[in-house]
Amino acid sequence: MEPKNVMIIGGGIAGMTAAWELAEAGLNVDLVEKSGFLGGHAIQYTCKATSECLQCGACSVEKMLKDVVGNNKINVHLSTEIESIEKNNGYSIKLNKTAAFIDAQKCTNCGICYDKLKENNVILQGYSKNNMPLYAVNACKIDENKIALKDVCPEGAISVSDKASSEDLTADAVVVATGFTPFDPNRKSVYGYDKFPNVISGLDLERIKRQNGFLARPSDGAPAQKIAFIQCVGSRDENLGNLWCSQVCCPYALRTAESLKHKNPDLDITVFYMDIQNTGKSFPAFYETCKNDIRFIRSIPVDIFPIENGNLNMRLFDEAQGTPIMEPFDLVVLSIGIMPNSENEKLSAQMDIALDEDGFFKNSDDLNKTSTSNDGMFIAGTAQGPKNIAASMAHAGQAASGVLKYLGVTK
């Protein structure tokens, strides 16, 4: 019997895990990724170990990326989007690949294109050395840079055409692993994210740590000494229409704080919270350790004022003190949450599967959170709702197992 084909939409941790599981089971996989790199959001995250591993899962993304790139049953389509998808006997899919892209067969990862065109973000560099190629053409910059793109590569690995090229695929089943969109902190205007350089998001923090090796303040590059984390930014908020807990922000803030503190015990870190999502096997014990190193204040602040040297004055209310005080910080980290992918409505219409009231993909069976109303389609990862790395991988494994059953490969 010919091996079955499965298409996976989205090359983040969930999509990669589903792809790898299915390839290992002997199926042919087409992994379609809109951006120029595999790894999604999770590949940007840094290791949060102190003297011991804090089980953040960041390294498992790196490992999975390596496994997927090295697996010849997985055909990776980078810089590619779904144009249309039709269910007949299986699925007929039309893909669109951007007008310019780097051909993985010819690219030697020499980095000449990046050196010459990184200035205006025309060529982007992947977060992981396991990205193949390590560089990609920025889809938003193609039109005005076609000539430069044509000439820059000595190997002729950059393909430039007049318009996006299309490709037809068939698949016996589809896995939707389109992930999430991080909360836009500008929607909580009280924090001045767009006005004060040293107010950053949790995602900015990861990028800064990755680029600098330490937590540098955006305003002057100096190492941050006195740091505030504000929890639940964008989550659990009726005004924003986001009533869900994003589940990942407490763990990432606390792990990051502990890891920073481990490297530099002199750091002064405060976490402002409403209640700590203290779930999982080892997290309660970890939370107790954190209380020795971090100041916890159970009130979400709402006033941040700029003072000298890029520092920020915050009005904070510690119930134990009884009265509010003004206190300066040199960096404020907003623990932003997981929002439905901003393209979910479009994707939902394309694939004819429903969204839930929050805008995530709706599982049709309460007992199987990978199920959809469309028989051969399965959801994996944060496309279905907030999840951490480990939960996304487990969910993707469940989706892969659903695919295998649906296709009759397993019972």
Binding site: M274, S299, P301, V302, D303, R315, L316, E319, G322, P324
Partner: protein, 243 residues
């Protein structure tokens, strides 16, 4: 943290918060609190009398009616509604405070607020400081004349009183004409610069409404109706209350 633990009573009584929920749209969202404390972080009255908006709401939710209806903190709230503005769950804490005020016997409410309301109720000016129609008109005309002369660029500035059919009917807090008359002028200049068609009135001119702060619904209503009548009698289209 050294305070003794709060002891809760045995049987659950019909609580104050339940009664307030009944009169507010959506129950004022009073049972949606996530205890995040954004209200208390942003409230100017946090920490006064050992109270803050979150603590107040939590105590109400726990049925601690006696404490809720006796704390003088409710009179320190300025009804600015900032707690509700920053609340992720849009909880109407100011209304809870308002109804807690109503449980106070009139004679025990703060003298300053009660006295100001009483004075305002005495005449159609609604002035809490008792400034009369004649005094108000005299001060406005006197100050206007002074500025028209001393600042030639404003020699044609208007500050009319009782001009029929003006677009805007402007209120004025009593404090300015009575104690700081010059403080009226910056707004006049702004209105003059933008070419606004406005007037004061001798009736209903005072902007303040202490009867609202006293949580006396009938008196509050009387004050508002007196002002509305003044606006309508002059045939103005828009009532500008600067409070």
């Amino acid at each position: 943290m050294s305070e003794p633990a709060i002891k809760l009573g045995g049987k659950r009584k019909s609580t104050f918060i339940d009664k307030v929920k009944e009169v507010l749209p959506e129950g004022g969202n009073l049972n949606l609190c996530l205890t995040c404390g954004a209200c208390s972080s942003g409230c100017p009255a946090t920490g006064l009398e050992g109270m803050d908006p979150r603590k107040f709401l939590r105590m109400a939710a726990l049925g601690m009616d006696e404490e809720i209806t006796s704390t003088p903190w409710v009179w320190m709230c300025s009804m600015c509604t900032r707690c509700m503005y920053v609340c992720p769950m849009k909880i109407n804490i100011p209304q809870l405070v308002y109804y807690a005020r109503q449980t106070w016997p009139r004679e025990e409410r703060p003298k300053g607020i009660v006295g100001s309301c009483d004075v305002a109720l005495r005449s159609d000016t609604c002035s809490a400081m008792g400034a009369t129609e004649e005094d108000f008109q005299f001060v406005v005309e006197d100050v206007l004349e002074e500025y028209q002369e001393s600042q030639p660029e404003f020699k044609n500035m208007h500050a009319d009183v009782n001009r029929m059919g003006a677009e805007f009917f402007l209120n004025q807090n009593s404090r300015e004409p009575v104690t700081e008359p010059d403080e009226m002028v910056p707004l006049w200049k702004i209105l003059d610069t933008v070419g606004a068609d406005w007037t004061y009135g001798t009736k209903g001119w005072a902007a303040e409404n202490y009867c609202m702060f006293m949580a006396d619904d009938d008196a509050w209503k009387h004050i508002v109706q007196t002002k509305i009548k003044a606006v309508e009698d002059l045939g103005c289209k828009v009532w500008l209350n600067t409070e």
